[in-house]
């Protein structure tokens, strides 16, 4: 249960700034996600926190103690890598026990703790298998167990699910969240997948070009994007430029207007404030149907729950589009 404080952190490689002026604090037991596109500096920031990569400026402290210049092995940090980084010459159990061996614990204690963590990550029966004999999901569980068994103060997860298929990714992320909550482990998770970030995190830091552009709970970041970048990155927001906003909604705005696709209603009959529109295309996304609707020459995405086949609107259908004023959000 640790409190992590990162202050004015900066990292450069030659002339290129990877990130600068990064400051944030994590509460004890909090699950925080660094979310951003590839190359935004999130993985480097994670490596800097772990001590594997040096920083150019700033400080990092855990529980009030400065660890800025502490070697990685003494920071009390557990890390799970995107590539798993399992030792190919060791069995799953030997991989998990590696950190405990480095701490020179007794063999009986090592065996006990390995058995505990194997149970925790549900890897029973796979202990004596080598990494190449395990599936992607099992390998990632070994990596997670190896990071957890040393009882780290902070757990760092560097895109741990990105190499897995969708089904395993979903079940493993639920398991990660469950284990994190059970252990009350302060965790920093790095991902470029906004769905992962939204489902897992207590708080999300959205990063772009080496800066944190928005910070908040999953709900806040999703429903109240502050910038055009966040609105685009977090989902399929409709973004209207000031001219389009004026033409479609009669709203004066300096920046773009962001409208969530699920906040727009499609009606069969005109209503007060509704606009005529035509269905141009529809996409079935499982429980959601996403319509591309054209209204006043502007293309809008509208999400509706997929209740039944009778509700489906055909391409070319005339509809009424109702956009509530409350759902409009002006972004920078």
């Amino acid at each position: 249960m640790s409190v992590v404080t990162v202050s004015a952190l900066a990292k450069r490689y030659g002339a290129a700034t990877i990130f600068q002026d990064i400051s944030f604090s994590l509460k004890s037991g909090e699950f925080v996600t660094l979310l951003g596109p590839s190359g935004c500096g999130k993985s480097t920031l994670l490596r800097c926190i772990s001590g594997l990569t040096g920083i150019d400026h700033g400080s990092i402290s855990v529980d009030g103690g400065d660890i800025t210049h502490t070697p990685p092995q003494n920071r009390g940090i557990g890390m799970v890598f995107q590539s798993y980084a399992l030792f190919p010459n060791m069995t799953a159990a030997q991989n998990i026990a590696f950190g405990l061996k480095m701490q020179k614990l007794k063999a009986t204690e090592i065996a006990e703790r390995v058995a505990e963590v194997v149970k925790l990550v549900e890897l029973g029966g796979r202990e004596q298998q080598y990494p190449h004999q395990l599936s992607g999901g099992q390998r990632q569980r070994v990596a997670l167990a190896r990071a957890l068994v040393v009882q780290p103060r902070i757990l760092l997860l560097d895109e741990p699910l990105s190499a897995l298929d969708a089904r395993i990714r979903k079940s493993l992320r639920e398991q990660i969240r469950d284990i994190q909550q059970r252990l009350g482990l302060t965790t920093i998770f790095v991902t470029h997948d906004q769905e992962e970030a939204l489902t897992l995190s207590d708080r999300i830091f959205v990063m772009d070009h080496g800066k944190v552009v928005q910070e908040g709970t999953a709900e806040t970041v999703y429903t109240e994007p502050e910038t055009e970048f966040v609105a685009r990155f977090m989902g399929s927001y409709n973004l209207l430029d000031p001219g389009q906003g004026k033409a479609l909604l009669g709203v004066e705005a300096k920046g773009h207007i962001a409208i969530r696709p699920e906040s727009i209603q499609l009606l069969n009959h005109p209503q007060d404030g509704s606009l005529p529109g035509v269905i141009r295309r529809r996409q079935l996304l499982g429980n959601i149907i996403r319509y591309q609707v054209e209204s006043a020459g502007i293309s809008l995405l509208v999400d509706r729950l997929n209740r039944s086949a009778d509700d489906l609107l055909a391409d070319g259908s005339a509809v009424q589009v109702l956009i509530s004023r409350d759902s409009l959000r002006e972004v920078r």
């Binding site: 940090i77 890390m79 890598f81 590539s83 399992l86 030792f87 190919p88 950190g99 480095m102 040393v150």
Partner: protein, 262 residues
């Protein structure tokens, strides 16, 4: 079906072409006498018995083993850490290393022997005529085989993540190298050692020019006894061939299990 027969004929022809000299040498090494007849007059193991009782042959064989094993020990001691450092700390040097390992093949042994003779024939470091100059030369010959095999494995093993993971779990760089990297290099290292060994055991030019009879190796011995008896030299050749064949088979087996493990 016809194409299949054609392919079988080509392969069989090739095997006969390659196998016939070996079979003939084997037969000659076992022949009592083989002159104007199609087949030898009789068969005898006498040439092998004579060879394996010859103190000069045994001494040459031991010399060859000493030089080869010494070279490969020194090679392992220098090349394994060098390859690791290049891949882990100075990846920019990989290109330079790839060029360097070509140099031993770029300069013919006869040419480099002349240079080495001039350098080491007399002071300050007199090495000509001693096994040490052969160990030095053979090191450069083994370098490309060993470095290339290690580089392939290091390049494929996600070295940085493995080292980072080991560091975070409390291992020093040396410990991480010994416990994580080295065991994963073992198979490619062993395969390259066996290949280099077979190659070095058959080396003649450096051995003859730099050391000659002062530290007679197997190939120099074979050259020097070539006039004694054809049957006897055939027995030498076959003994050497059997030994290197066994080593090559071992190297191939190790290489195969290396691929299987990954």
């Amino acid at each position: 079906m016809r194409a299949d027969l054609y392919h079988r004929c080509v392969v069989a022809g090739l095997m006969i072409l390659l196998g016939l000299p070996v079979a003939a040498t084997l037969l000659y090494s076992l022949a009592t006498q083989w002159g104007a007849t199609i087949l030898p007059d009789g068969l005898t193991p006498a040439w092998y018995v004579q060879l394996w009782q010859d103190a000069r042959f045994l001494s040459a064989f031991v010399h060859s083993l000493e030089v080869c094993i010494g070279t490969l020990l020194i090679g392992t001691l220098f090349i394994v850490p060098a390859a690791f450092v290049v891949f882990y700390r100075f990846p920019g040097l990989a290109k330079l290393m790839n060029l360097l390992i070509l140099v031993p093949f770029a300069v013919p042994p006869v040419v480099s022997s002349v240079g080495l003779l001039q350098l080491y024939a007399d002071g300050p470091v007199t090495l000509v005529g001693t096994p040490w100059i052969l160990v030095g030369c053979y090191f450069t010959v083994a370098l490309p085989f060993m470095y290339r095999a290690l580089a392939n494995t290091l390049g494929a093993m996600n070295l940085h993540d493995l080292m980072d993971a080991a560091h975070l779990l409390g291992a020093s760089t040396m410990r991480a190298f010994l416990m994580v990297v080295l065991p994963n290099l073992k198979k490619s290292l062993m395969a390259s050692l066996f290949l280099s060994f077979s190659f070095l055991l058959g080396e003649f030019v450096f051995a003859n020019m730099l050391v000659g009879t002062r530290y007679e190796t197997l190939q120099v011995y074979l050259y020097n006894v070539r006039q004694t008896s054809g049957h006897f030299t055939s027995a030498v050749v076959l003994s050497y061939f059997a030994f290197t064949l066994a080593l090559t088979w071992l190297a191939a087996r190790l290489g195969k299990s290396d691929r299987g493990a990954s």
